[in-house]
């Protein structure tokens, strides 16, 4: 058994942490998330130069063939620094979905540009009615000779706003909630027939509702087998879920450290708040939650290569752990700061917002509790 990072992994962690300290101070983040797309193109190019966009991809496309542990490390740091960017949507989620399920030709056309930072991807899989069920796909793709015609609605696709290529799930046979009959398509944007409503979310990120009206794609845009897209999508969602669990654990550690530092210096009634036993116990619970969340994120990460049932159990267990402990830690961070904890100018409330968004993403605690029991 070994829970040590390799030298190389430590290097990655330190380089991200330095980047966040130098380039992503909290007031800079506030400015960046206030308008536009919520992140900086310049930063994205720096991500490319630092090799972070290449991490999980195969060498043949310009990637670094890194393991899920490296993704965990980067997401943990992003969580600590409250980084808002299309990294999750492009590199972790859609990128790895394509890398795993796409043809060599599709990967060759798309991934090199992704790695250089010139192409952004996003997944549009959830639908307004589907709520939490993955098979709740009523968007349809009808075959018409050499093309597919896609019609339907997708909801709150993360960073679809700036994506050059979307991966869209659509039903090619069967009816809503059949596990079989869902296929995945590459859809470039803008394309005739696609309209989007963009939203800002409370965590400073962006998500779009998408309507597809007679959108045509050629048959070579089908990813993997016809009718059999769900297993690949399920896997990619687990990869993304493990990544946000790692992000949450990083965010929780930051809340713990900042709250600890605050209680050590803030004085009321002639003593530091940190000397009050009632508050010490609260912070001990926060600390324990951080340790548990970190373990849960690692558990999920290490199971990404396991057989599907074991993978699903580990990922769902992590998501439930993160949901419960992340919520408490986020709320405690605000509460123990008192009035300043409620303000825009302090990071603490922004951690609560991001932890809350993570809980709502990729299935909430209740969904994963059931999935855990029935993987």
């Amino acid at each position: 058994m070994n829970f040590q990072f390799s030298d190389e992994q430590t290097l990655i962690r330190d380089s991200i942490s330095r980047f966040l300290a130098d380039e992503y101070a909290f007031d800079r983040r506030l400015t960046l998330t206030a308008d536009g797309l919520g992140y900086s193109d310049v930063h994205w190019q720096q991500f490319a130069e630092l090799g972070w966009l290449a991490l999980p991809f195969a060498e043949q496309y310009g990637g670094l063939d890194a393991t899920p542990v490296e993704t965990m490390i980067i997401m943990e740091q992003f969580g600590r620094g409250l980084m808002v960017s299309p990294y999750l949507s492009t590199i972790v989620f859609a990128g790895q979905l394509l890398a795993n399920a796409g043809s060599e030709e599709q990967c060759e056309t798309i991934l090199p540009d992704v790695i250089t930072g010139d192409r952004l991807l996003a997944c549009a899989y959830a639908e307004p009615q589907s709520r939490r069920a993955l098979s709740g796909v009523s968007t349809r793709a009808e075959r018409d000779g050499d093309i597919f015609v896609i019609n339907g609605d997708k909801s709150l696709a993360i960073y679809a706003e700036c994506a050059h290529t979307l991966i869209v799930s659509a039903r090619t046979s069967g009816v809503d909630h059949d596990a079989h009959g869902v296929s995945l398509f590459l859809v470039d944007t803008p394309t005739a027939g696609i309209s989007m409503t963009h939203h800002r979310t409370h965590d400073g990120s962006r998500a779009s509702d998408i309507t597809l009206h007679n959108v045509t794609v050629s048959a070579d845009k089908l990813i993997g087998e016809l009718d059999n897209g769900l297993p690949a999508l399920d896997f990619a969602i687990d990869v993304a879920t493990a990544a946000v669990c790692a992000e949450a654990s990083g965010a929780m550690w930051a809340v713990y450290e900042q709250t600890l530092a605050y209680l050590k210096t803030r004085e009321q009634f002639g003593q530091t708040l940190g000397s009050l036993q009632a508050l010490q116990h609260r912070l001990v619970d926060v600390y324990t939650s951080c340790e548990l969340a970190q373990s849960a994120a690692l558990d999920a990460t290490l199971h990404l290569g396991a057989d599907p049932a074991a993978r699903r159990r580990a990922v769902s267990a992590a998501k439930v752990t993160i949901a419960n402990h992340g919520k408490t830690v986020g709320q405690e961070g605000v509460q123990l700061h008192g009035g300043v904890g409620m303000t825009m100018e302090l990071p603490i409330g922004h951690y609560l917002k991001r932890l809350t968004a993570i809980n709502a993403a990729f299935g909430d605690a209740n969904y994963h509790l059931r999935r855990y029991q029935n993987p």
Binding site: R131, G339, T343, T356
Partner: protein, 412 residues
């Protein structure tokens, strides 16, 4: 008057709708009064204002609060339900006041203009000079002057008596220097009442003076402080050589702590917001009723039922304390328990509302969108959840309330 023999508690528990059963136990006069109030609110509350309250907003525009206050005022001083007739209030007994505020909450009417109506007004009636009562009470009654509360300072929050903002005597004036922070609604307000340091020898509770200050006075500046979800409710108020006539001092110099304790005691009854939570819970139940079983419907319905059960117990607890043998005056530090549990349940309801909406609960929609038109109360679900985290911090944080309970109720 409601009292609680064990048998009636049992009967209460067996009813499907315990709250209706509770209402039936008001005397016929109070019940008639309740209906009169409810009908009045339902027919007179402007819809655009009601929609904002139903959206769980606490940051209503000044004009809307004043508009509603004036509607209540026209009805016979209803804007100041706790005020006696001699000062233009309706002169209601405590049951009437309780029922009135409950109906306001259940029917999504705005909260009262608490700083003037609920805090300063009664404090002036108790400790103000005749001249102060003549000058300051009528504008509060009519809703012409908007007050805010300047107690907290950057280094005096839970430890309020550590406040440092100075008021130095200079002839017939005080000269005020320093700052107040977290001042709710200072950007809407015309005047600020607050506590200022006039002496710093001896106990820190000594040497505090209660002053009334016109926010238009030269030397006052405001710094808006946005909440982390973007709402502007609180401010920092800076005083730079601000002259305040001695006639604007309430009571005696150095003895402001006594008046402040009286004033804060008045706040105790409202902060649990149990009836407001009933209204919010109703909205949550409507939302979760529509969630399909395979989309977590059962989970959310169970969770909502759980909060409802907790809320019932808390409401009955509040009534036991308020309408027990000694009446409301007998309620002491137990009120702290209502505040702690009340805010916890309120936060829980808004949390569940956001969670039940799934990812859509995370959308950040601007506050200034036209209220009422074309939007549902759920559009602000995420913001409401974040915004209401404040309720366990202000009005005496829940930790401080627990310290009070431990000391004054448990005797530890």
């Amino acid at each position: 008057m409601y009292s609680v023999p064990a048998a009636s508690l049992l009967r209460f528990a067996r009813r499907d709708i315990g709250l209706a059963a509770m209402n039936k136990s008001w005397s016929p006069e109070i019940e008639a009064f309740r209906r009169e109030v409810r009908d009045f609110i339902r027919t007179h509350l402007p819809d655009d204002i009601r929609c904002q309250v139903a959206e769980e907003r606490m940051d209503l525009p000044r004009e809307d609060l004043i508009r509603w206050h004036k509607i209540l005022h026209e009805q016979g001083g209803w804007g100041c339900p706790g005020w006696p007739v001699e000062h233009g209030g309706p002169g209601w007994n405590f049951e009437q006041q309780y029922v009135f505020e409950r109906e306001l909450a259940l029917n999504d009417a705005p909260r009262l203009m608490i700083y003037g109506v609920g805090m300063l007004g009664p404090t002036l009636m108790e400790f103000g000079s005749d001249e102060q009562k003549r000058r300051f009470l009528p504008p509060i009654l009519r809703g012409d002057v908007y007050w805010c509360q300047g107690f907290s300072e950057p280094n005096a929050g839970s430890d309020l008596a550590a406040l440092k903002c100075r008021a130095d005597r200079d002839g017939d004036d005080y000269i005020v220097n320093g700052s107040k922070i977290w001042t709710s609604d200072a950007h809407h307000a015309d005047w600020i009442f607050g506590l200022y340091r006039t002496a710093s020898d001896g106990k820190k509770q000594h040497g505090i003076t209660f002053l009334l200050i016109d926010l238009d006075s030269p030397g006052i500046t405001l710094r808006p402080l946005l909440m982390f979800e973007g709402t502007h409710e609180v401010n920092q108020v800076f005083f730079d050589n601000v002259r305040v006539p001695v006639t604007h001092r309430v009571g005696e110099e150095h003895r402001g702590w006594t008046y402040a304790k009286y004033l804060l005691g008045l706040e105790r009854f409202g902060t649990a917001e149990i009836s407001r939570s009933m209204a919010s819970l109703g909205r949550l139940k409507t939302l979760v009723a529509e969630i399909a079983a395979d989309a977590g419907g059962a989970y959310y319905r169970d969770a909502a039922a759980n909060v409802e059960i907790e809320l019932r117990a808390l409401e009955l607890t509040e009534r036991r304390l308020l309408f027990g043998p000694g009446g409301p005056d007998a309620m002491g530090p137990e009120a702290s328990m209502l505040k702690v549990r009340g805010t916890e349940l309120q936060q829980c309801i808004l949390e569940l509302t956001m969670e039940a909406m799934g990812p859509a609960g995370q959308i950040d929609r601007p506050r200034d969108a036209q209220p009422g038109s074309n939007r549902t109360q759920l559009e602000q679900a995420g913001r409401n959840y974040f915004n209401y985290r404040k309720t366990s911090i202000y009005s005496g944080s829940n930790e401080i309330q627990k310290n009070i309970i431990a000391k004054a109720v448990l005797g530890l």
